[in-house]
C-alpha cells in the first residue's frame, strides 16, 4: 500500500463515505425509522472488516460520478449495475447480486415480446443499464426511446400514459409497484438482460481489490447468502 | 345667446362638498377668469366642464344643447361623452404632454385619430394628413414654436411645454378653451410670454375660461371675473367691479395683497 493510495486516503479519514440513493431493498428507511437494507447491512459488515467507519450519504443519482471524483463520497454502493462503460470510468467490484432489466407496462396492455414495442414510446434512465438493454435489443432499438434523468420518473410516465413501456432494474421495479403504491396497475411483463450488481470506487482505487477479497470470505462462510435471503435477493454466480 | 350655461352644479368627494350651487354663463368671444385661493374648487370646476368629473347635480348647456344633466342619464352615455368633450379644450396645470411624441405630433395626434373616422379618409388620406400638418404648424407658429417642431417635451422649457399644450387644445377648435393656472411655476419672462399668447387669443375673440393666480393678468385680459371660495361663487362681475370695488368681505381680504402694490 503506497502513501497516496486511495485506501490510505480513506484510512487517514478513518471512514468510508458511501453514496446511496434511498431505494428498497438495497438502502432504505423502514417503518420503524431505522436505516437498513441489503447494501446497508453488507457495507457495514465490510467496513468492519476493513477497519473503517461507514458513513452513508444520500446522493442524487445524476451526479454520482461527479461525487466520486470530487471525493465527496468514496464509493457508490447502491445496487449499481455493472456495465463495460462504467468499468472504464470507475473501479467496480466483482458481481455480488444478480439482477435483471425488466419491462413494465400498464396492466392489460398488449405485450408479446419486445417486438410489440416497435414504434412505441419506451423510457429508461439516462445512462442506466436499462438504456444499454434497449440499445442492445433489436426490437427495442426501433422503439421511440426517451431518456429520463430519474429512474423513478419512468413509472410516472407509464401511469400518465406519456410512455408505453419502461425498462428498469428488477429490484426497483418490485418495490415501486404493487399494493400500497401509486402504481398498483403497473406490472412487470418481461425479463430481459440478466445482469449483476457491483460496488463502484474511484478509477484505480485499491480498496476495490480488498472488498473483493472480503466478498469471497463472506460467500465462503455463508453470511452473504443469509443476507440475500433476508431481502429476497439472489446472489451472483 | 350664451355659448355656455352652467346651472347649479354640485360636486362632492365623499363627504367633502367641493362645489356648491355653481351657476354662470359665458357669451361667445368672452374671456372668463376664475380666481380664488388654493382648494376653493377651481380645478374641480374645470374638470366637470371637461367631463373628467361627473357633477352630482346640475346642468351644462352648450349652444343651447343640454350636454350634461345630472338628472338625465341619457346625457351621460359613455359613447356620446367623447364627442361632447370636443366642445371644450383644456390646458392642464402640468401640461400633460405626451412624452413620447414630438411637439408637432403632440398637436396632430388627436386630429389624425379623428380623421381616421371620417368616411372619406381612405381616398383622401394624403390630402387630409397634409392639411393636418399644415394646421398644426400654423398653430405652433402662432405660439412661437416654429423652431421646436421636432423636439420632445422634455427638451423644451416649461413655458414652451405650456404653449404646446395650448396649441394641442386649439387644434381641435373647441368652443371654449379652459386653462388651469397657465403661469404657475414659470419664471417672470416665461410668464410674460405665455400671457402674451393668451392675450392674443383673447384679442381674436376666443371663448376662454382661465383659472389663474395672476391678478394683474386676470384684470387685463378677462371680460368677466369669478371669485370662488370654499366651493361657492362668492362674487362675479367685470374686472373693474371685482378688483376695483369688491362687494364681499372675503373678496376684499383675498385681494389685499394685490391692491397694495
Amino acid at each position: 500500500v503506497t502513501g497516496d493510495s486511495d485506501f490510505s486516503y480513506v484510512k487517514k479519514n478513518g471512514k468510508l463515505i458511501i453514496g446511496y440513493t434511498d431505494y428498497a431493498p438495497m438502502n432504505y428507511t423502514d417503518e420503524s425509522g431505522t436505516f437498513t437494507g441489503f447494501d446497508t447491512e453488507l457495507a457495514t459488515l465490510v467496513c468492519k472488516k476493513l477497519g473503517l467507519e461507514p458513513q452513508f450519504v444520500e446522493i442524487i443519482w445524476d451526479t454520482k460520478e461527479v461525487e466520486l471524483n470530487a471525493k465527496s463520497i468514496d464509493c457508490i454502493w447502491n445496487g449499481l449495475t455493472i456495465t463495460p462503460e462504467r468499468q472504464e470510468t470507475m473501479e467496480i467490484t466483482k458481481p455480488y447480486i444478480k439482477n435483471a432489466q425488466v419491462v413494465l407496462m400498464k396492466e392489460g396492455a398488449a405485450y408479446n415480446g419486445t417486438e410489440s414495442l416497435i414504434g412505441k414510446t419506451v423510457v429508461a434512465e439516462q445512462g442506466s443499464a436499462g438504456e444499454d438493454t434497449i440499445n442492445a435489443d433489436d426490437n427495442l432499438k426501433q422503439a421511440n426511446y426517451v431518456p429520463k434523468t430519474l429512474q423513478t420518473d419512468c413509472l410516472m410516465e407509464l401511469k400518465a400514459g406519456t410512455a408505453d413501456a419502461a425498462v428498469l432494474d428488477l429490484t426497483l421495479a418490485k418495490t415501486m409497484t404493487g399494493k400500497g403504491t401509486s402504481y398498483e396497475d403497473i406490472i412487470i411483463v418481461d425479463h430481459l438482460a440478466e445482469e449483476d450488481y457491483g460496488v463502484a470506487f474511484r478509477k484505480g482505487s485499491d480498496i476495490c481489490a480488498q472488498v473483493n477479497k472480503i466478498f469471497d470470505e463472506l460467500v465462503a462462510d455463508g453470511s452473504m447468502a443469509a443476507l440475500a435471503d433476508k431481502y429476497g435477493l439472489e446472489l451472483a454466480e | 345667446m350664451p355659448v355656455l350655461e352652467v346651472k347649479d352644479i354640485e360636486k362632492c368627494f365623499g363627504t367633502l362638498q367641493v362645489l356648491q350651487n355653481i351657476s354662470f354663463s359665458l357669451e361667445k368671444g368672452e374671456a372668463l377668469a376664475i380666481i380664488g385661493s388654493s382648494g376653493s374648487g377651481k380645478t374641480t370646476l374645470l374638470r366637470c366642464l371637461n367631463f373628467l368629473e361627473r357633477p352630482d347635480k346640475g346642468k351644462i348647456i352648450v349652444n343651447n344643447n343640454v350636454i350634461f344633466d345630472a338628472a338625465d342619464p341619457a346625457t351621460q352615455r359613455e359613447s356620446e361623452v367623447r364627442k361632447k368633450r370636443l366642445h371644450f379644450g383644456l390646458v392642464f396645470q402640468n401640461f400633460n404632454l405626451f412624452p413620447q411624441y414630438t411637439v408637432l405630433k403632440n398637436v396632430t395626434l388627436a386630429l389624425e385619430l379623428l380623421a381616421n373616422e371620417r368616411p372619406d379618409f381612405t381616398q383622401e388620406k394624403k390630402a387630409i394628413q397634409e392639411e393636418i400638418q399644415e394646421r398644426a404648424k400654423t398653430l405652433l407658429s402662432q405660439v412661437g414654436l416654429s423652431d421646436k417642431l421636432d423636439f420632445y417635451p422634455h427638451m423644451i422649457s416649461g413655458g414652451q411645454q405650456q404653449r404646446v399644450a395650448i396649441a394641442r387644445a386649439l387644434a381641435l377648435e373647441p368652443d371654449i378653451l379652459c386653462f388651469d393656472e397657465p403661469t404657475s411655476a414659470l419664471d417672470p419672462e416665461l410668464t410674460g410670454e405665455v400671457l402674451k399668447v393668451i392675450r392674443n387669443l383673447a384679442e381674436r375673440n376666443t371663448t376662454m375660461i382661465i383659472v389663474t393666480h395672476e391678478m394683474d393678468f386676470a384684470r387685463e385680459v378677462a371680460d368677466r371675473v369669478i371669485f370662488m371660495d370654499e366651493g361657492v361663487i362668492v362674487e362675479q362681475g367685470s374686472p373693474q367691479e371685482v378688483f376695483g370695488n369688491p362687494k364681499e368681505e372675503r373678496t376684499k381680504q383675498f385681494l389685499t395683497r394685490y391692491n397694495k402694490d
Binding site: D62, T63, E65, V66, N69, E85, R86, E88, T89, M90, T121, V123, Q126, G127, S128, N144, V146, P147, K148, T149, D153, M156, E157, K159, A160, G161, T162, K203 | N50, F51, L52, R82, K83, R85, L86, F88, G89, L90, F92, N94, N96, L97, F98, P99, Q100, Y101, L109, A110, L113, L114, Y152, P153, H154, R168, A169, L172
Partner: protein
C-alpha cells in the same frame, strides 16, 4: 481527445432546444401576460379575484412542479386530453408550462407599469376626444413599455437559465445532454454549459441595454 469537437457540437445542438423554448416562451407569454394583466385589473370583482389567485399560485410554486403537473397531470387524472406522443409532446408541454409561468410574472410587471402612468396622461387623451383603445395604444403603451423594460429584462434573463428545467420532463436540453457525459464519467461538459448560458445572457444584456437606450429619446 478528438471527442471534444463531437461533444461540443452535441452540446450546441441541444442548446438549440433551450433557445427555441426561450423564443417560443417569450413570443407567447408577453401577449398572454397582457391579457392576464387586463383580467387582474378588471372592474368585475370575481374575474379579478380569480385571475389574481391564479397568478398567486403560479408565482408561489416552483416551475419544476408546474412542469410535472402540466405534463403528467392529464394522464394521472385520466383526462381525455393527452399530449402528443414522443419528444414533440414533451416540448409542447414544456412550452405551455413556461408560457403560463412567465405570463403570470410578466402580468404583474405590466400591472405595475400601467398603474405607474400618471392619470393626467389618460385625461389628456380623454379631453382630446380619444377612445379608450386609442388612449391605451397611442398614449399609454409606449410609456408603459419604457418603464417595464428593466424588470422584464430581468425576467428574460432568468428565463434563459430556467429553460434547462425542461429536462424534468425529458426535453434533451443542454444540461441533460451534459448529464449524459457525466454518466459516462466525463465531467467537463457539465461545466462547459455555463459558458453557453453566459454568452446568451451577455448577448441579451447588450440587446436590452440597446432597447433601453432606444427608448431614452423620451422621458416619463
Amino acid at each position: 481527445m478528438n471527442e471534444i469537437p463531437v461533444i461540443i457540437s452535441r452540446l450546441s445542438e441541444s442548446f438549440l432546444l433551450n433557445c427555441k423554448l426561450f423564443a417560443i416562451t417569450l413570443l407567447f407569454s408577453l401577449p398572454l401576460g397582457l391579457v392576464i394583466t387586463f383580467g387582474s385589473m378588471s372592474r368585475f370583482y370575481p374575474l379579478r379575484w380569480l385571475v389574481r389567485t391564479f397568478v398567486w399560485i403560479i408565482r408561489g410554486t416552483p416551475l419544476m412542479l408546474q412542469l410535472i403537473v402540466i405534463y403528467f397531470g392529464p394522464g394521472l387524472m385520466n383526462m381525455a386530453f393527452s399530449w402528443p406522443g414522443g419528444t414533440s409532446g414533451r416540448f409542447v408541454a414544456a412550452n405551455v408550462a413556461f408560457i403560463i409561468n412567465y405570463a403570470c410574472y410578466f402580468s404583474e410587471i405590466f400591472r405595475g407599469g400601467i398603474e405607474s402612468i400618471p392619470q393626467g396622461q389618460y385625461e389628456a387623451g380623454q379631453v382630446l376626444g380619444m377612445t379608450k383603445k386609442q388612449i391605451f395604444f397611442k398614449v399609454i403603451l409606449l410609456q408603459v413599455i419604457k418603464r417595464i423594460v428593466p424588470p422584464v429584462g430581468n425576467e428574460v434573463i432568468t428565463l434563459v437559465k430556467d429553460t434547462s428545467l425542461a429536462r424534468i420532463i425529458s426535453n434533451k436540453e443542454i444540461i441533460m445532454m451534459a448529464g449524459e457525459y457525466s454518466n459516462k464519467g466525463l465531467i467537463w461538459p457539465l461545466f462547459a454549459t455555463g459558458i453557453y448560458f453566459l454568452v446568451f445572457v451577455g448577448v441579451l444584456t447588450i440587446l436590452l441595454d440597446w432597447l433601453e437606450k432606444r427608448l431614452d429619446y423620451f422621458r416619463v
